[in-house]
């Protein structure tokens, strides 16, 4: 079971003389559910951006399936999906069009055109939006007209629809009410939904501030000032660990 799919080797990231990530080593194994903890500004978002290849580290190596990002083809890169903290949706497109953007990778250019012209099928998008408890009245609304929590769930739906193996979720529970948080948490972490079909990626790394959720994870990573302070099994987590990073 211990097959590493995503690995950071001695990663440092410098931005204008500030060391934002400091010699980070990290292995993510297939099927793991990882919680990423850390104060605001500790480097969680930066770490996630390095993990998905958006930020090129100043030093060190990122390996996905044992290859660096440059060696991977598009199909392999697609195995990672990200729910961004700042969502990064396309504001002028409708909610369903944004969710369909998650399908761009597995479809051709023609699909992109049809999506923009609003003449493609949105069935799959709607299915995922329903899973995220999005009401069908917002399907064709522009993102800029949605509430914070609605936008958050559109971003989640866009990510899940990609059917990736690895999900990197950066504070995905922002803007959600308690009931929705539970729903979304189950959606992100459970491999199987009630119809016994797999909806969420096998491997998940979630950055979060909710310590009461840790029971749902296998592993906990604590980061502070760009350095990993601990990377342990959840069952081994002590208050002492948390004191170190908060």
């Amino acid at each position: 079971m211990n097959n590493t799919i995503l690995e950071l080797k001695n990663i440092s990231y410098k931005y204008k003389n500030n060391l934002i990530l400091n010699k980070v080593n990290l292995k993510i194994n297939s099927g793991e559910k990882i919680a990423l903890l850390g104060k605001s500004g500790s480097g969680k978002t930066t770490l996630i951006s390095v993990l998905n290849g958006t930020i090129k580290p100043t030093q060190g190596e990122v390996k996905l399936f044992n290859k660096s990002f440059d060696e991977l083809d598009r199909k392999q890169k697609r195995k990672i999906t990200t729910i961004w903290q700042d969502l990064r949706l396309i504001e002028d497109l409708s909610a369903e069009q944004n969710v369909n953007c998650g399908l761009l990778a597995e479809n051709n250019f023609y699909f992109a055109i049809k999506n923009l012209l609003n003449i493609c099928s949105f069935n799959k998008a709607h299915k995922y939006m329903q899973l995220c408890r999005l009401h069908n009245s917002i399907y064709d609304k522009k993102i800029r007209k949605l509430s914070g929590g609605q936008k958050q769930r559109v971003a989640i739906a866009r990510s899940l629809i990609q059917g990736a193996h690895i999900l990197l979720a950066d504070e995905p529970f922002n803007n959600l009410d308690p009931k929705l948080i539970t729903t979304i948490k189950n959606l992100l972490l459970e491999n199987v939904d009630k119809n016994n079909t797999k909806k969420s990626p096998k491997t998940t790394l979630v950055s979060l501030h909710r310590l009461d959720f840790l029971n749902d994870f296998d592993k906990v990573i604590g980061i502070r000032d760009g350095k990993i302070f601990f990377n342990i099994k959840r069952t081994n987590l002590k208050q002492l660990h948390l004191d170190k990073i908060y």
Partner: protein
Amino acid sequence: MNNLKLNYTSLSFLPILVSIPLGYQLLTNIHFGGFELFEEFLISAFNPKINNEIIITVINRLNETILISFLSWLVSIIFGAILGILSSKIFYKIFNIPNFFYSIIKGFLTIIRSIHEVVWGILLMQIYGINFSIGIIAICIPYIAVNSKVFAEQLENIEHKSFESINQINAPKFSSLLTLIWNPIITTFKNFGIYQLECSIRSTVILGLFGIGGIGTSIFLSFQTLNFRELWTYLWSLAIFIIVSGSIFKKIKFNKINKILSIFFIAVFFITILFSFSYFLYYIFNNNFENFNYFSSLFKSSSDLGLLYFLKLILETIILSLLSTGIAISLPPLLIGIFNNNTSKILIKIFAFLLRLIPTPVILLTLLTFNNPSLSLAALTLGLHNAGITSKLLFTNLDSQDKKKYIAMKSLGISKKTSWLLGLFSQQAKSYLAYCAYRSDIIIRETAIVGVIGSVGLGWQLRESLSSFAWQEVILVLIAYSSIAIVGELINGKIKNSLT
């Protein structure tokens, strides 16, 4: 309040000082030979010729104008969008192409843009002869470059983060590109493309004056034969056409696009591209092989232009631009401010509309009826025409502005003019000046049109050199033109940045 402070408001009025040298030169050049003609010209405005024959001519000529302007608009908007994408950073980010190509395309488009469509038209007519499609090509060349700049500017607003998130989906690159640029492109098309159609109509009319065909040619011929009543029939029908087409286009809503309509648009898009390319190839390979001799004669011909004379032409062109810009900036606020009542406002609006409507060469020719050709006369023409355009903007902005401050000042007993100046105009001055900076880019290019007719500056020299097939001189003049326009654009860009 006693000493003059340099703020945006005073800067909007100061340029009117150009009217001192301008007025002086105009007064010394006045002649009374043509006053009757001028009078006749004015009176004919109220008494245009209307009969069956002329109505049929109007319809035929308008059809030509519509065809030329619509086709050139369509081609230039589509290729403008494509080149706009190719000259935007987002394209290079997605495809990972070195920025070197970005600079090359941008530079190339800047040069193309710096030369006015009339100059392209005259040039192409000299090479290929008068031809219907020359009009389309002449308009398309600078318009594509202008449009591409506008599209590219909008595309630069796409956030890097949106790019990153789409990039992370790892979709085919064209899908990512299209998804990112879709909305900026559509919005630009809606906001700017429609307005460009009107510009395209005006350009067609002006090129018509130079013989391309359409209503412009009729206007020119009737002017030449001093058939003023006929002339006004053409001008008024053009006015009606511009107003009607403008209001029709305002009504069209692109929001409710359905399947059939989108397929139609896509079809138009690809057919236009296909046609343009095949026409281009046809032109190069089939049409005018023998005319390539002209290009070889470029190396045989010599230039008789002395350096000093050439510098004088350049200076004249620069002065011409400055004087016209001065008028275009200051005349509208001055008139609106001084004659600040409803009747005058309507009169100014009508006058401004006429100045926009009547092509600059016709304005110039009219003024020539009682004034000898001079630099000032050309500047006045260009200035008045552009004042017609800046005043339209000023009126629109003033009308939509909150009038609270103005009303409050008036109720305090402050005079109407002062309240208008400090309560209304002062808030518009900055954005008005920014628009004028943009307008002066266009004025520099338009000096070519009045130059050709009014015997000043590089425009005149261009015509002379062309008619004597002195291709080296032509190239020299074009380079000079282009340099002035590009330097002007750079300076105006700086001014605009400091104003916004």
